[in-house]
């Protein structure tokens, strides 16, 4: 059985330097797939390939049986959303207006704002808990609130798949967990999520499908409970560690050894 979103044999390069070469990845339908790996392993590059931000020089990305490249940009945007690593909130834009911009692929010159758009925005703001911020200016929000607003914008797009590029990077631990819980809720409500994440333990706790990358290749993938071992972490990160069971979630918990305890 093939999955809705998959990369087949793709090569992704930055100015002729291949970062990812001839990689194949099937994103399981209805999964919360998290891609991990050391810096420069190609995980963000791979996500950019999925997100149409980088054109593969070989191979194809397939979405719902069609080549992603052959889809009209707006049609692709109705099926596949992205929370970019950094976006720019225009000066003086309110939360409701920013979330509303997520409706762009569903609108046309004659239909710039319909009751469907209104409903999608209301739902997205309710799901992310930003309804009460609706009239506030995005510039005035805290980092955690702002990231929720961007998630709401991506949700208003109402796509089956949502890509998340290091969504928790600039947040404190409480906001990170807050956001990961939000993603877990979204996943439960039927969105397939693909995230690039730095925090191995967050990945182990929330992923239903974990992909470990190194040097542009997939080292291992599967249920984090089955694949995360001290050997894998050492093979991926060169990091000596021990793996125990997280007493809270029952998922693997990676504890780096460091120099002192070795």
């Amino acid at each position: 059985m093939t999955t809705l979103l998959q990369a087949r044999d793709i090569t992704l390069s930055y100015s002729d330097t291949p970062i990812v070469s001839r990689l194949t990845l099937e994103v399981p339908d209805d999964s919360f797939t998290i891609i991990i790996g050391p810096n420069a392993c190609g995980k963000s590059t791979l996500l950019r390939g999925f997100a149409r931000l980088l054109r593969p020089s070989t191979g194809t990305v397939l979405l719902d049986g069609a080549e992603l490249r052959s889809l009209k940009p707006k049609d692709a945007a109705k099926k596949l959303g992205l929370l970019p690593q950094s976006s720019i909130a225009p000066d003086g834009i309110t939360v409701a207006d920013l979330v509303g911009r997520g409706r762009f692929p569903h609108q046309s010159a004659m239909r710039t704002w319909s009751s469907t758009d209104e409903r999608a925005v209301a739902e997205a703001m309710a799901a992310t808990g930003v309804t009460d911020l609706s009239r506030r200016l995005v510039d005035e929000l805290s980092g955690g609130q702002r990231q929720r607003v961007w998630v709401a914008m991506a949700l208003a797009q109402q796509t089956r798949h949502l890509l998340l590029d290091e969504p928790t990077t600039f947040l404190d631990i409480a906001h990170q967990i807050d956001l990961m819980e939000l993603f877990a809720d979204l996943h439960r409500s039927g969105t397939t999520l693909v995230a690039v994440l730095h925090d191995l333990n967050h990945a182990a706790r929330y992923a239903t499908h974990l992909v470990a990358m190194r040097d542009g290749e997939i080292v291992a993938q599967g249920d984090p409970r089955e694949i995360i071992t001290a050997e894998l972490v050492e093979a991926v990160y060169d990091l000596p560690c021990t793996v125990i069971t997280d007493p809270v979630s029952g998922t693997p918990l990676v504890l780096p050894l460091g120099r002192r305890t070795r």
Binding site: L4, A51, R52, L53, D64, K72, P73, K74, D75, A77, K78, K79, L80, G81, L82, P84, Q85, S86, S87, I88, A89, P90, G92, T94, A96, D97, G100, R101, G102, F104, P105, Q107, A109, M110, R111, T112, W113, S114, S115, D117, E118, R119, V121, A122, E123, M125, A126, A127, T131, S134, R135, Q157, Q158, R160, L163, L186, R188, S189, G190, T191
Partner: protein, 365 residues
């Protein structure tokens, strides 16, 4: 399986009476089976007031001149073909095209300004500042003085080619992996200074008569324009303005960054290219007709944005109306003190630019 059916609502979304979105302003809702839009009441009111200002200032400006015509006679001359033929000739043939030109130039420049300010995400990113206006001016000077081709279409071609080459030059010089709007503005200021001095050099190396002709045009004036120049300019304007309508929706999306725009189905490269070409074309069509009318492109989108409390300088209708109102009022003032309209906009715009720079500087530090 279809994609849409698979999206089950999450538990907290199942509430049947989900509160409507609080947009934080009064809105007009329009929804039929084919057309659906949400229009801020404020934008409608502002646009209506601007139209009134344009009409009032336009009529007022038609009473001014060597041949005095009072207000009622102006209106009679416009609406009634059987009115006094002398007055009708003065008002209809001489003064009306000037007012219509003011409306057209203002609208075109303001739209160009909105396009470039949205593109650069910077209120300084207007064609006046980033050199495309000077490029167009250089192109026209070359056409008029060196090649001695002095009709509207030749000047328009000169302005368009000059503007586009300048745009390309600035773009290439400022582009380094990514395009930062700050670098674009700095490079643009440099390029416009260079082109400005080249224009001056051409003017001092040709005969006095030619230089005078070019200098008169170069002050930016609507005084000598009639219907025969208005018609081609209006046609070009209508075509470009219609072609740039899609930018009203795509440019605000592009303001959020290339990645977000791509994810939403806007192609950044294509949008930027069409925005550049249409923006330069709008500046060129005005420059060819009236010469450089500075600061309208810079000020109009910002003024409009503050009046309508919009979140983007790219808001076609109020921005164009603001520009038109600014030029019509400036031209009326210009007639009262007997100077070219460009002189008025430069003086008022200079003060505005100083304020804008001070405000931006204050925010940065």
């Amino acid at each position: 399986m279809s994609i849409d059916q698979r999206r089950a609502p999450s538990p907290d979304l199942r509430t049947p009476d989900l509160a409507p979105v609080d947009h934080g302003r009064r809105l007009l809702r329009l929804e039929t089976s084919r057309v659906a839009a949400l229009i801020p009441v404020r934008a409608v009111v502002v646009s209506a007031v601007l139209v009134a200002v344009i009409i009032a200032a336009g009529l007022a400006s038609m009473t001014i001149g060597a041949y005095e015509v009072d207000f009622p006679s102006v209106i009679r001359a416009i609406v009634d073909p059987a009115s006094d033929p002398d007055i009708r000739q003065v008002v209809f043939e001489w003064r009306l095209p000037r007012v219509l030109f003011a409306v057209l130039c203002g609208a075109a420049l303001a739209l160009a300004g909105g396009i470039f300010q949205s593109l650069t995400r910077n209120p300084l990113g207007s064609p006046d500042i980033i050199g495309f206006g000077v490029g167009a001016q250089f192109g026209v000077t070359l056409m008029m003085v060196v090649l001695e081709l002095n009709t509207y279409m030749f000047k328009a071609v000169g302005a368009l080619v000059g503007g586009l080459i300048t745009a390309l030059l600035v773009y290439v010089l400022a582009h380094r992996n990514t395009l930062s709007s700050f670098r674009l503005i700095i490079v643009g200021i440099g390029v416009s200074a260079g082109l400005g001095s080249l224009t001056s050099w051409i003017l001092i190396s040709v005969s006095v008569e030619k230089a005078m002709m070019a200098a008169t045009w170069g002050a930016g004036s609507l005084a000598s324009l009639g219907f025969d120049q208005l018609v081609p300019a209006a046609i070009v304007f209508a075509v470009v303005a219609l072609a740039s309508l899609p930018l009203n929706r795509t440019l605000p999306v592009l303001e959020m960054g290339d990645d977000a725009a791509t994810a939403l189905g806007v192609s950044p490269g294509r949008t930027r290219l069409s925005a550049m070409v249409f923006g330069v074309a709008l500046v060129a069509l005005v420059t060819a007709a009236a010469g450089p009318i500075s600061f309208i492109a810079l000020a109009a989108p910002q003024i409009s944005q503050r009046l309508t409390r919009s979140n983007t300088p790219m808001d076609t209708v109020p921005v164009m109306l603001t520009g038109a109102a600014l030029v019509v009022v400036s031209d009326t003032l210009a007639q009262l003190v007997a100077v070219p309209v460009g002189v008025v906009t430069v003086s008022v715009g200079g003060i505005y630019l100083a304020w804008l720079l001070a405000a931006q500087y204050a925010r940065r530090s």
